[in-house]
Amino acid sequence: MMRHLISAADLTRDDAVLILDTAEEMARVADRPIKKLPALRGRTICNLFFEDSTRTRISFEAAEKRLSADVINFAAKGSSVSKGESLKDTAQTLEAMGVDAVVIRHGASGAPYRLATSGWIDAPVINAGDGTHQHPTQALLDAFTMRRRLVGRDAGLGKDLKGKRITLVGDVLHSRVARSNVDLLHTLGAEVTLVAPPTLVPVGVDTWPCDVSYDLDRVLPESDAVMMLRVQRERMNAAFFPTEREYSRRYGLDGERMAKMPEHAIVMHPGPMVRGMEITAEVADSERCTVIEQVANGVHTRMAVLYLLLGGNEPAVTHTRPNDSESK
């Protein structure tokens, strides 16, 4: 049985909907005078971050604290890791200190999977982003944001994203956000289109459950949500595209392009944004842009994941359900 959340692909449709529904209830806690729930009282969670990511770390930390967990933050920089201690030793050390779950961010694809399956530790592992592989809680918070905006806060309860047309634009090749979103959105019944210069689409993408287009302007009028992915400027030096200017011209989202989207359609970004390159200030600051909402939703969604994985004696999501074969 799985006790971890490693990949968005591990979630069934019902798992995902349960997480989103639970996140809606968690969201209500944010409106209370005391923003705290007792679900993880007495449990210690370690945020094990081998990669700088203040946003994700703070989001997890807020979620953990709202659920009353004890939180240990471990940043690899300046620690024994930078002196050559291995992932294995670090994880075992933490477990020896009584950590009940590990939230891990790592630059190497597969590091959370390895931590969860190698027998190094017993604690459940939650992937907070690994290399260019997966970032499942990001995909969940994105789906949560889409469901709220496109289906409705209460109307969305129990529902998925069937038939919603979602467009992901940018550096798909190097994006764990893209991979997680494609997996989860497909599970939730959405129709996903990836838009990128061909250099930034992985070889082998043809097996993914989505469409690929190189033409943003053609896809925009048929999108209910457009998610802009971060494009690192350094990619330019590796000849993925000629210049920043050309990239923005072909794949950046400005006001004029946004006007081609249907009126109800939203603009999303996992942050941090590179303003001017992939998204103009006009778009980033518009009503239709959900960037700030996504941050708030990140806390609700992570609370839901933590509660459903760690709140009981066994997880309520991510495990394959036993067949209904018990004798009647």
Binding site: T22, E25, I34, P38, A39, G312, P315, S327
Partner: protein
């Protein structure tokens, strides 16, 4: 093993029917008005699932009696349960606190069956995280006894002496399509 179909105990018999439940709720509403001196600062909080429907019905009756609108909400106790760690996490139900909150108010918790008292203990903990009521009272449709904690109800629809081998099942139209309180035998464990 006996020959009963364990899925549906065939011995379940109604101890309260629809009209009984309506009458009982009316009585409780009157008691609340009487004890709360007009029920001016009452907030009704139902405990999901069926406590919420009962709280709404009570609120309607109170409104009939007092002519004022009575704030009603719900209080999910899932995360405050003391057996949280003994099962997989349960889906959360809605906690809905009426606009003016509960600070300084008389909160009446509403539930369908009072049994061990653990649910109410969890509810008291939950309230603690939401505000500070002037006082907390408890209204239940059925008190079946067997308390495991020093908790009692202020308003009881029906005291129903039971054995631990029996089950009490409340059905409400909003959820179950009809109103009834059923007393049955516990299914033989497999």
């Amino acid at each position: 093993m006996d020959s009963h179909d364990t899925n549906e105990p065939d011995v379940a018999r109604p101890v309260l029917e629809g009209p009984d439940i309506a009458r009982v709720l009316t009585r409780i509403a009157h008691e609340i008005v009487e004890r709360a001196k007009g029920a001016e600062d009452v907030v009704l909080l139902g405990i999901p699932t069926r406590g919420v429907f009962l709280a709404r019905r009570l609120a309607e009756k109170l409104e009939e009696i007092t002519g004022r609108s009575i704030p009603v909400g719900s209080l999910d106790i899932t995360m405050y349960r003391d057996d949280l760690r003994m099962h997989p996490p349960r889906a959360l139900a809605r906690t809905e606190i009426p606009g003016d909150g509960i600070d300084g108010r008389l909160v009446v918790l509403v539930d369908d069956v009072l049994f061990s008292g653990r649910t109410i203990r969890a509810a008291l903990d939950g309230l603690n995280d939401i505000g500070r009521p002037r006082a907390v009272q408890l209204a239940v449709l059925v008190d079946r006894g067997h308390r495991e904690l020093p908790i009692r109800a202020d308003y009881v629809g029906k005291n129903l002496p039971t054995s631990l081998r029996e089950t009490v099942k409340v059905q409400l139209a909003e959820e179950d399509g009809r109103d009834a309180v059923l007393l049955g035998a516990k299914p033989a464990s497999a």
